[in-house]
């Protein structure tokens, strides 16, 4: 359904390019800005990896990059699933903060896999109400693999809200995981927050 033919895609790109030169509101999300966002995020991640800092300090930096380039509120709400609807505003705030730190540590721990590697943005295309930025990851000693970023400006800013690694959807995986953690804590969101802070 969303598979666009090569020609239609070319036409969309051309249309996108045409729109880009017209005067438009500063907030409008287009292919170029979606691509630029991911380029900047990747550059910052590489800077941290090559900084030679201690691991704990790196986790903090990764968390900051995540907070800067990702729509943490939307991701946290989606990861929490239905429970986010019954949670109070204060609980959501505490959960989101805990979740942000948890993500920084969880994915930060894997930073070694990226040492000496590079991620190259190759394309971007509109998808439903957002954009998909397509990149290729070249990691040492591995065949290049497909890495996609879903970028939206619904929050008022260009931010990514999902990453697809070789077809594996980060948000879907996070939902499954946070759902399982919530179940382990018998549905108690405060216990879940404590578990996230400890993880």
């Amino acid at each position: 359904m969303i598979q666009i033919t090569r020609r239609a895609f070319g036409a969309t790109l051309a249309a996108g390019a045409a729109v880009a030169v017209l005067p438009r509101p500063a907030q409008a999300l287009d292919l170029a800005s979606a691509k630029a966002l991911i380029d900047r995020a990747i550059a910052e991640v590489n800077t941290v990896i090559n900084s030679g800092k201690a691991e704990q300090a790196m986790y903090k930096d990764f968390e900051a990059i995540f907070a800067k380039y990702a729509d943490v509120n939307a991701i946290a709400r989606s990861a929490l699933g239905p429970a986010s609807r019954s949670a109070s505003a204060a609980e959501m705030k505490a959960f989101t903060r805990a979740y942000q730190g948890y993500i920084g540590r969880k994915y930060g721990r894997r930073f070694r896999e990226f040492i000496g590697g590079r991620i190259e943005v190759v394309d971007a295309k509109p998808l439903k109400s957002y954009f998909e930025v397509i990149s290729v990851a070249h990691l040492q000693g591995e065949a290049p693999f497909d890495l996609r970023w879903h970028v939206s400006n619904k929050s008022g800013k260009d931010l990514f809200f999902n990453i697809i690694i070789e077809g594996v959807n980060m948000l879907a995986s996070e939902r499954e995981e946070v759902g399982a953690m919530l179940k382990q804590n018998k549905g108690d969101i405060n216990a879940l927050i404590a578990a996230l802070n400890a993880a």
Binding site: I2, S129, S173, E176
Partner: protein, 255 residues
């Protein structure tokens, strides 16, 4: 169309991979069209979860420690050679499957890969074909079934073999039973083939150790994580277009 129904009937019955192969061989290739699979179909979850615990136990007690030893004591060039050797021996099967999928280009490519690597690559220890621009295009009978229009079927987890689906399990069984290499190779040589395959798997377990450990040991529900990862990655591998209404495209702004 009728044959397709027959296939699905047969697939309900895991014990009959041979019958499936026979139906397949009778020329079904032209009749089905690949359909995208969505969501999670796991009616055997209870059994699968029991198998998953067995697999985690196996990994903890045997596979992981062995792979650590393999990864530490075997020098990198040897590990690469073992992996190349194993993957070269899977090429004849890839040639057959690509042909069954009607993918002539991949079939020819895999044929040349096999010829070049078996000769210039010293029996498959090296991969010079890659330098000729013939990169590996892995496939299997599970993919062939997908191309023929067979649905994924329920999710399954097998002890020792890990995650699969009914379609992929039938594919694995057919690939195993009809592997041209094991049919042709005489006794001692076929053991080398098996040994290299084990070595190659251990090498992978060691190389992707952080990823695998994080899924198996660090997640709150490692069964659910494994299932999700397997299904999504397998569908991606098969080139299935991601469905807009499934889990593949979550739009957190429309929830």
């Amino acid at each position: 169309m009728m044959r397709r129904t027959l296939i699905s009937e047969l697939l309900q019955n895991l014990g009959k991979p041979v019958a499936v192969a026979m139906v397949a061989a009778s020329g079904l290739a032209a009749c089905g069209t690949a359909v995208a699979d969505q969501g999670i179909n796991d009616p055997y979850e209870q059994t699968n979860r029991a198998m998953h615990s067995v697999n985690v136990g196996l990994d903890r007690a045997l596979v992981k420690p062995t792979s650590k030893v393999y990864g530490t004591i075997v020098p990198q060039p040897v590990k690469t050679g073992v992996a190349n050797f194993a993957s070269n021996l899977s090429l004849p099967g890839d040639v057959v499957n690509s042909a069954l999928q009607g993918n002539g280009e991949a079939s020819v490519r895999n044929t040349f890969r096999f010829l070049i690597n078996s000769t210039l690559g010293v029996g498959g220890l090296f991969d010079p074909a890659k330098d000729f621009g013939l990169a590996q295009k892995k496939t299997d009978f599970g993919e062939t079934l997908y191309v023929w229009g067979v649905g994924e079927g329920p999710y399954l987890e097998f002890p020792g073999l890990g995650p699969s689906t009914v379609r992929d399990a039938v594919g694995t069984a057919v690939d195993f039973a009809a592997n041209p290499v094991s049919i042709v190779l005489p006794k001692p040589e076929s053991y080398y083939a098996t040994a290299s395959k084990v070595g190659s798997k251990l090498g992978d377990r060691d190389r992707y150790s952080e990823t695998i450990d994080s899924v198996l040991y660090d997640s709150a529900d490692s069964y659910a994580q494994t299932r999700l990862l397997y299904l999504q990655n397998r569908r991606f591998e098969l080139g299935q277009p991601a469905s807009s209404d499934g889990d593949d495209f979550i739009d957190p702004y429309q929830e």
